[in-house]
C-alpha cells in the first residue's frame, strides 16, 4: 500500500516503471497501470482474430484478452517457458478503462526514473512506429523503451491494424 502511495506522490517528477524483456530488448510500462503479474497459462483461443491475440483468460471471473507482445512487435516467436509471464494492465480510453494482458518473456525490475532523464523517442524513419512509445531511458547502459500502453492496446488501433494486415 505504501509503495503505491509513494509512487502516486512521486509520479510527477519521478514516475515508476515496470521493466520487462522481449528477447534482447528491454521495455517498460507505467507501474500505475499494472494490475498484476501472473505466470503464463493456457488461454482460450478466439476464432478469426490476428495471431497476436492469444485468446482470453479468466481473471477472477472477468474475461480478459491476452496480447502476445512478441508477435505484436514482429519479433521471433519463442516457446513459452516458466519465466514467461502475463502482465495484466488497465487500459484507459475516453475516460473508461478496460483490462488486457500482455505476454512477455520475463519481468525484470521496478525502475525509478527521473522525468528529466526520459528522452523522446528518436525518429526511426518509417520502419518503426514511435506512436506507441512514451520515450526512452538509459538504465545501467541498457536502453529501455517506455511504452504508451493506452495507445498500444487501443481497440480501434488493433482493429485498424487488423484490417491492414488482412
Amino acid at each position: 500500500m505504501n509503495a503505491k502511495d509513494d509512487s502516486i506522490n512521486r509520479d510527477e517528477d519521478q514516475p515508476q516503471f515496470l521493466s520487462f524483456t522481449l528477447g534482447d530488448e528491454d521495455y517498460g510500462v507505467n507501474i500505475l497501470r499494472v494490475q498484476e503479474i501472473r505466470g503464463w497459462e493456457e488461454v482460450r483461443d478466439i476464432p478469426n482474430t490476428p495471431d497476436y491475440i492469444k485468446g482470453v483468460l479468466n481473471l477472477r471471473n472477468t474475461v480478459v484478452p491476452i496480447v502476445d507482445l512478441r508477435i505484436r512487435f514482429n519479433l521471433k516467436k519463442v516457446e513459452y517457458t516458466p519465466t514467461t509471464v502475463i502482465i495484466v494492465l488497465s487500459v484507459e480510453k475516453d475516460g473508461s478503462s478496460h483490462v488486457m494482458g500482455v505476454v512477455v518473456d520475463a519481468v525484470s525490475d521496478v525502475l525509478n526514473i527521473e522525468r528529466k532523464n526520459i528522452k523522446a523517442a528518436p525518429n526511426f524513419g518509417g520502419k518503426i512506429n514511435t506512436r506507441y512509445m512514451n520515450g526512452m531511458v538509459m538504465v545501467d547502459n541498457r536502453m529501455v523503451v517506455l511504452l504508451e500502453t493506452d495507445k498500444l492496446l487501443d481497440q480501434d488501433e488493433l482493429a485498424a491494424l487488423e484490417s491492414i494486415s488482412s
Partner: protein, 665 residues
C-alpha cells in the same frame, strides 16, 4: 383482471426525474435564436416520455401539463417558433413545476394547484392560444384561494431536541419567508428543579404573513414532522390583494419569495431520490432464502474443515458427501443470487392490460390483449429500460394499428382487434414481439409523407422494408390528428434509440390491411443461459440450448455434395446444409476429419435449420454470460464468453451470426 400499478410507480418516478434532468440541462444549453433542432428534439423526447408514462399511470394532471409544454417544444422543433429567452425561461420553470408535481405524486401529498394553473396559463400565453383568457384565468385562480398568511401552532414533543432539531432554527427559517409574529407558550414549563435541560417544554404560536404556499411551510418542518404537533390554518384576508392581483395581466409577473423557497427544497428532495436510483428492491423471501443458503454453506464448511483436521482414508466417503453438499449449496446460492437480478418480464407486461383497456374505451375500439411468455426471465436493468419502448409500441398498435370496429367489419375482419405480446429466448437473445391484426402500414402514405417531410428525395424507389423502416425516423408521423396518445412522430425514434442503446434491435414486418409485427431483440447480457458444451480440437464452445433441435451422427449415405463443395445432408425429407465449426473458426487440430467421425448438432436460426459439425458433445450446463466486449470487442459468431467449472474460459456461439459467416466462407 386487476393489476396493481403501484409497483411500477417507483420506476416511473425514477425515469421521469431523469427525464427532467435531461430537459433541464438541454434547456440550459439551448442557443437562443439559433437552436439546434437535435437539441430541442432531446428535450422534446424527455417530455414525451414523461407524458406517456404519466398517462399510463393515471397521473392526468402531469400528462396534461406536459402536453402543453410539448406543444411549445414541438413548434420550436419545427422552426415555427423562435427560441426566445421568455420561452426557455418559462419551460425551465415548467420543469420545476413538473418536478414538484412528481414529488407530490410520489409522496402522495397534494400539489399546489395554484402554481400549476399559473404556469399552465403562462405557457398557453406564450403559445398565444388564448392570451387574454389565460390572463383572466390566472387572475381568477389567484384570487379564489389567495392566502395572505398562515397561522401555525407548533408544539414540539419533549424529546425533539434529542433528535438534533432546534426549534429556533425552524422559526428563523420561517422568518425569512415573510413577516413573522411569534408568541411563546410557556404553560408546560416545569419548576426549575424539575427541568431537564435536554427536553423541550415550549410551544409556539406563529403568525406568518406573505404569499406562502402550504408546501413551503411544510418543507420547513419536514425533519420534525414526527416529533411535533403542527397545526396550519390559512389566514384568508380577502380585503387586501385581489385588485392588485387582477391588474397584473401577464401571468409571469406573479412571483414571490415562496416559490423560490419551495423550488430549493424540491431540488433537495429530487437529489435524494436520484441517489436511490441505483438501488434494487428485493423481496424479503428471496433474502431469507439467501440467508438460509449461506447458513447451510457455513455448516458444510465447518464440517469439511473438521474432517480435514485429521483425515484418514476411512473418512473418504464422508468427504465425498461433504463435497457433494458443498457443490449443491454453492449452486443453489448462485441461483438465488442470480434470482435477485432476474425478474420475469411480466413486471413489464402487466401494466398493459390496464393501458389497453383504458385507451381502447377512450378511443371507442374493441381490443383483446393476449400475452404469452410472461415468465421469460430478463435482467432487471433491461426490464426498466425496455418499459418505455414497449409502452410506445403498444400505444402505437392501439392507435394506428387497430381500426375502429365499423372499419374492421367493413374490411371483413372480426369486430374485436387483437394485440399479441410475446416474449421468448432465442438464439442468445430475448425476443419480444408485439403483433396486431390491424390495418398495417400503408406504405404509399408513408412514402408520400417521407417525401413531404424531405426525409426521402421525391421519386425515390424504396423496398417495402425500407419504407417500413421510415417510421423510425425522428419527426415522422402519419397521424392526421395530434392526440395525447401518439402522432407527434417522436415515439418510434425514441423506441429505436432506446433499444439500440441496450445493444438490441427492433424490426417491423407489416402487411397493409392485415397487421404489423414489431420484433425487439435484446442481448442476454447478465442473463443465464442453458448451454450445450461441444468440443472441436482443443477448444470448448457453448451452444445455446434454445437453438439446438437435435444432435445426430450421420452416415455417408446421407451426405450430398453440392457443386463439389457445399455439403448438405438429408434429414427426414429435408436437405440441411452442414457447417464445419473448425472451418469457420479456422481450428487446425480438429479431431474429426470426416463427417462420420464427429457429431452434427442441428441448430436453427431464423427458422432455417443447419447442421453444425463438431468433434464431440460434452455436457449440458447453465452458464453465466460474460461479455467479451467489456475488455475486448465483438467477435463474429460469438455472443459472449463464460467460465467453466475448471476456471477456463469457453466462448458462447452466436448461431445466427455463425451461419451468416459460413455463407461468406
Amino acid at each position: 383482471m386487476s393489476v396493481d400499478l403501484e409497483q411500477f410507480h417507483q420506476v416511473f418516478f425514477e425515469e421521469s426525474f431523469e427525464g427532467l434532468d435531461i430537459m433541464e440541462t438541454g434547456l440550459m444549453e439551448l442557443d437562443l435564436g439559433a437552436a439546434n433542432s437535435e437539441d430541442i428534439n432531446t428535450i422534446f423526447r424527455a417530455a414525451h416520455s414523461i407524458k406517456g408514462g404519466s398517462g399510463t399511470f393515471g397521473f392526468q394532471g402531469i400528462a396534461n401539463f406536459t402536453h402543453v409544454m410539448e406543444t411549445l417544444l414541438d413548434e420550436m422543433r419545427d422552426g415555427r417558433r423562435q427560441v426566445t429567452r421568455e420561452a426557455v425561461d418559462s419551460l425551465l420553470k415548467s420543469v420545476d413545476i413538473l418536478r414538484m408535481m412528481l414529488n407530490c405524486e410520489q409522496d402522495k401529498s397534494n400539489p399546489d394547484t395554484d402554481k400549476i394553473q399559473q404556469q399552465m396559463s403562462e405557457l398557453e400565453f406564450i403559445l398565444g392560444e388564448s392570451g387574454g383568457a389565460a390572463a383572466i384565468q390566472a387572475a381568477s385562480a389567484g384570487s379564489s384561494s389567495e392566502t395572505t398568511g398562515w397561522h401555525i401552532i407548533f408544539e414540539p414533543d419533549a424529546n425533539m431536541m434529542l433528535t438534533g432539531n432546534d426549534p429556533l432554527r425552524i422559526i428563523r427559517e420561517l422568518a425569512e419567508m415573510g413577516d413573522i409574529e411569534v408568541k411563546t407558550n410557556q404553560q408546560k414549563l416545569p419548576a426549575f428543579s424539575e427541568l431537564s435541560p435536554e427536553n423541550c417544554y415550549l410551544s409556539w404560536d406563529i403568525t406568518l404573513r406573505g404569499n406562502i404556499t402550504e408546501d413551503a411551510i411544510k418543507d420547513v418542518f419536514l425533519w420534525v414532522e414526527d416529533e411535533c404537533k403542527l397545526t396550519l390554518t390559512p389566514i384568508v384576508d380577502t380585503s387586501v390583494q385581489p385588485a392588485a392581483e387582477a391588474t397584473s395581466a401577464a401571468p409571469a409577473v406573479t412571483e414571490s419569495v415562496a416559490p423560490v423557497a419551495a423550488t430549493a427544497s424540491d431540488s433537495k428532495k429530487s437529489t435524494q431520490s436520484s441517489s436511490a436510483t441505483s438501488s434494487i428492491r428485493v423481496g424479503i423471501d428471496k433474502i431469507d432464502d439467501l440467508i438460509n443458503m449461506v447458513g447451510e454453506l457455513v455448516i458444510t464448511q465447518s464440517m469439511l474443515s473438521l474432517l480435514g483436521e485429521d483425515f484418514s482414508m476411512q473418512n473418504l466417503e464422508k468427504l465425498q458427501d461433504g463435497l457433494g453438499q458443498l457443490e449443491r449449496h454453492t449452486r443453489e446460492l448462485q441461483e438465488s443470487v442470480m434470482m435477485i437480478r432476474m425478474l420475469p418480464i411480466s413486471f413489464s407486461f402487466s401494466r398493459f392490460p390496464r393501458l389497453v383497456r383504458d385507451m381502447s374505451s377512450q378511443m371507442g375500439k374493441k381490443i383483446d390483449l393476449i400475452m404469452s411468455g410472461e415468465n421469460t426471465e430478463i435482467d432487471k436493468t433491461l426490464i426498466e429500460k425496455i418499459g418505455d419502448p414497449l409502452v410506445h409500441l403498444v400505444r402505437n398498435s392501439l392507435d394506428h394499428g387497430i381500426e375502429m370496429p365499423a372499419d374492421r367489419i367493413a374490411a371483413g375482419k372480426k369486430e374485436t382487434g387483437t394485440i399479441n405480446l410475446n416474449a421468448y429466448h432465442k438464439g442468445g437473445n430475448i425476443v419480444i414481439e408485439i403483433t396486431d391484426d390491424g390495418k398495417g402500414i400503408d406504405q404509399d402514405a408513408v412514402l408520400n409523407k417521407a417525401i413531404e417531410k424531405g426525409l426521402v428525395p421525391a421519386g425515390a424507389k424504396l423496398t417495402a422494408q425500407q419504407i417500413n423502416d421510415l417510421i423510425f425516423q425522428p419527426g415522422f408521423s402519419t397521424a392526421k390528428k395530434i392526440t395525447d396518445v401518439s402522432g407527434r412522430g417522436v415515439g418510434m425514434d425514441v423506441v429505436r434509440k432506446n433499444i439500440t442503446s441496450l445493444g438490441g434491435a427492433v424490426e417491423i414486418q407489416s402487411e397493409h390491411g392485415k397487421g404489423s409485427t414489431f420484433t425487439i431483440r435484446l442481448p442476454l447480457t447478465l442473463a443465464i443461459l442453458d448451454g450445450q458444451s461441444v468440443i472441436v480440437g482443443n477448444e470448448i464452445y457453448i451452444i445455446p440450448l434454445v437453438s439446438i433441435v437435435e444432435s445426430i451422427q450421420i452416415k455417408t449415405s446421407m451426405i450430398n455434395k453440392v457443386a463439389g463443395k457445399g455439403e448438405t445432408f438429408k434429414l427426414r425429407d429435408e436437405y440441411i446444409p452442414i457447417v464445419r465449426l473448425s472451418r469457420v473458426f479456422g481450428i487446425e487440430n480438429a479431431k474429426a476429419k470426416t463427417l462420420e467421425d464427429g457429431l452434427l448438432v442441428v441448430v436453427e436460426a431464423d427458422r432455417k435449420p443447419c447442421g453444425l459439425f463438431v468433434d464431440d458433445l460434452l455436457g449440458q450446463q447453465q452458464v453465466v454470460i460474460k461479455s467479451l466486449e467489456q475488455n475486448y470487442r465483438r467477435v463474429d459468431g460469438v455472443s459472449g464468453a463464460t467460465i467453466l467449472g475448471d476456471g477456463s474460459v469457453a466462448l458462447i456461439l452466436d448461431i445466427p451470426g455463425l451461419l451468416r459467416m459460413s455463407v461468406r466462407h
